[in-house]
């Protein structure tokens, strides 16, 4: 079987999606390409299926919160989501990054390209509060279903939740949404 020669991911993306690329950065030999969120599905499909690129393995999706946020060219919005993809054939990694707005963070899901993104996206929905448009299962993953807010955001303070005992259960239940909404 003949293996297609490796293509430069940056160059081929620039040729194929010239308007979708927002920012390019290399830090410690890791290439990051910031793209428009609405093009993410097409870009991922392209990177996975094009001979010479074949990023066939989704390693990780991780999110980051740039609170307090001042827009810049590198970080146009508050929430960043990094897709770490890997090509087994050419043994190289690539980071594709998108940004989501503070008011309504929504990004299209890439579940149709990488099924393994299922729980990774649900985790980000749960902890960072970024919704993935088109995800089939939008329940919380790690936190309890009655949890308020998204704990991985930078404006959520650390800790300070009281441990529930029988002597303080009334106090705590007062602040839980399911207890107050039923009355």
């Amino acid at each position: 079987m003949q293996i297609a020669p490796a293509l430069d991911p940056l160059q081929s993306l620039q040729e194929k999606f010239p308007e979708a690329i927002v920012f390019i950065k290399t830090f410690r030999e890791e290439l990051t390409i910031v793209v428009q969120p609405n093009a993410i599905l097409e870009i991922m499909t392209y990177l996975r299926n094009t001979p010479g690129l074949v990023y066939n393995f989704l390693s990780d999706i991780s999110s980051v919160d740039y609170y307090p946020h001042t827009p810049s060219e590198e970080r146009p919005e508050r929430y960043g989501v990094s897709y770490h993809i890997y090509s087994m054939l050419y043994n190289r990694r690539l980071r594709i990054k998108v940004f989501a707005a503070e008011d309504e963070p929504v990004i299209p899901t890439i579940i149709s390209v990488y099924p393994g993104a299922n729980w990774l996206e649900r985790e980000i929905l749960d902890l960072m509060g970024i919704r993935f448009e088109g995800h089939p299962d939008q329940r919380r993953l790690l936190m309890p279903d009655d949890w308020n807010g998204h704990p991985a955001r930078r404006d959520v303070p650390m800790g300070k939740e009281m441990v529930q005992f029988s002597f303080n259960v009334e106090d705590i239940m007062k602040h839980k949404p399911h207890a107050s909404s039923s009355n």
Binding site: F27, E30, S59, D60, S62, V64, D145, M158, V169, A179
Partner: protein
């Protein structure tokens, strides 16, 4: 006497209704044609607090909904409030069967973020620690996996061997499990003199033991009946669902990060990557058994290479505390010591991604600095998380008893999954 909780509080708690599961289970469950059954979270063979909602047609699994989060301890969030050096003990508590791999992933991310060097001797000791914890972790896996399938004696043998390794870890760090021995820039302290003898003695003792396990299990007809042709994962399914480690290699995909992207000097060791053919429970078992042999091989080479004297951590004083002996004579050392233990060091406002081959698969750390002493965001991509997310695909169509074999063979750790 304790006051009972108010009536409205308990009444309003989730009581469960089928409607909430519409779309997640098949429509046959809605009419009662198939049965919904909870497995866990306190079931011993789910290997931790994992709840599986199984939809059963007779004894056959139609679909399964894994429910995780019982062990979510917010480690990623907690690290955001700690300096880089002080965050290391938290990483121990994720994958509690191989704490050294977690230390390693986090420390490598920190080292990459601040461009910190690690001396060669420290790298060799790290490899020894990682391979020892791989053996220790595989021992727990083999013991519990065999116990689930009814082979009690293997469990006792495996824990006996693991005890040896835990004693070596106690010798190194003072702790049997959560040692936090690997630190940014190297190691916490040098290895004690008895370490060399202990590891060599263990290797001599352990090698014939692998043959013992094989003589009990590999050709055992009951074991073959329970494992062959069960939980088959096709290579393309394994890749699509992000499976790594022995699960991926059991399906025949040759990807080991120690070979593909060597770290800590793995490229200088001579070892093979064992592969399976069919991707069933038996192949994953066999791959891990062969991995034990390869780990022993790596350990033997590392012990031969390890010099008796030399630096065990970086001499870059901006990131690594000075040795205790310098504090009495050098003012500069006192300043560095004080600065590092009160504030920590600064790391740039950038992101790095580092992955290592943990006993379970690809363990990766995404680290984003703030420019100050604390990270902005840490995210661990853990192998168990990906493996549990793919359980519905793997288990579909098998019997409920096979579920036990499948969970055992993908080797999940819930602390690793929930973080």
């Amino acid at each position: 006497m304790a006051t009972p909780p108010p009536a409205n509080a308990t009444k309003a708690l989730w009581e469960g209704s089928l409607e909430e599961l519409r779309g997640l289970v098949s429509n046959r469950a809605m009419t009662g044609e198939t049965m919904l059954l909870n497995m866990g979270p306190h079931h011993p063979s789910t290997h931790g607090v994992l709840r599986l909602l199984l939809e059963l047609d007779g004894e056959e699994i139609v679909t399964c909904l894994p429910d995780i989060g019982y062990l979510h301890t917010g480690i990623e969030k907690n690290i955001e409030d700690k300096s880089y050096e002080k965050a290391v003990p938290l990483t121990d508590r994720m994958d509690y069967l191989s704490p050294m791999s977690n230390n390693m992933a986090f420390c490598m991310a920190v080292e990459k973020l601040v461009a910190l060097d690690v001396p060669e001797r420290a790298q060799i000791i790290r490899v020894i620690c990682l391979e020892l914890s791989r053996i220790a972790s595989h021992m727990v896996w083999l013991g519990t996996h065999a116990l689930d399938m009814g082979a009690m004696s293997v469990f006792l043998y495996c824990f006996r061997e693991r005890e040896f390794i835990l004693r070596i870890f106690e010798m190194l760090s003072g702790q049997r499990m959560m040692g936090s021995y690997i630190r940014p820039g190297g190691l916490w302290r040098d290895v004690p003199a008895e370490f060399y003898g202990a590891v060599n003695q263990f290797l001599e003792y352990f090698q014939p033991k692998i043959d013992d396990y094989e003589s009990i299990l590999t050709n055992n007809p009951i074991w073959l009946d329970r494992t062959q042709g069960v939980g088959v994962i096709e290579p393309d399914v394994a890749l699509a669902w992000g499976m790594t480690g022995a699960v991926l290699r059991g399906s025949g995909v040759n990807w080991d990060i120690r070979k593909a992207m060597p770290y800590s000097g793995y490229e200088t060791y001579d070892f093979e990557v064992p592969l399976g053919e069919h991707g069933d429970v038996y192949d994953r078992f066999y791959v891990r058994i062969q991995e034990l042999r390869q780990s022993v091989k790596i350990l033997q080479q590392a012990m031969k290479k390890l010099p008796k004297k030399g630096p065990f951590r970086s001499s870059n004083r901006k990131f690594v505390p000075p040795p205790r002996s310098e504090l009495g004579s050098s003012m500069e050392a006192v300043i560095h010591h004080f600065k590092l233990w009160t504030q920590g060091f600064d790391a740039p406002d950038e992101e790095v991604y580092v992955s290592i081959e943990s006993p379970r698969g690809e363990m990766a750390c995404y680290l984003h600095g703030t420019g100050g002493q604390k990270p902005r965001r840490v995210h661990f991509k853990t192998p168990s998380f990906m493996h549990i997310s793919s359980l519905p695909v793997v288990s579909e169509g098998y019997l409920i008893a096979d579920m036990i074999a499948i969970i055992g063979s993908v080797d999940i750790v819930l602390g690793d999954c929930d973080r």
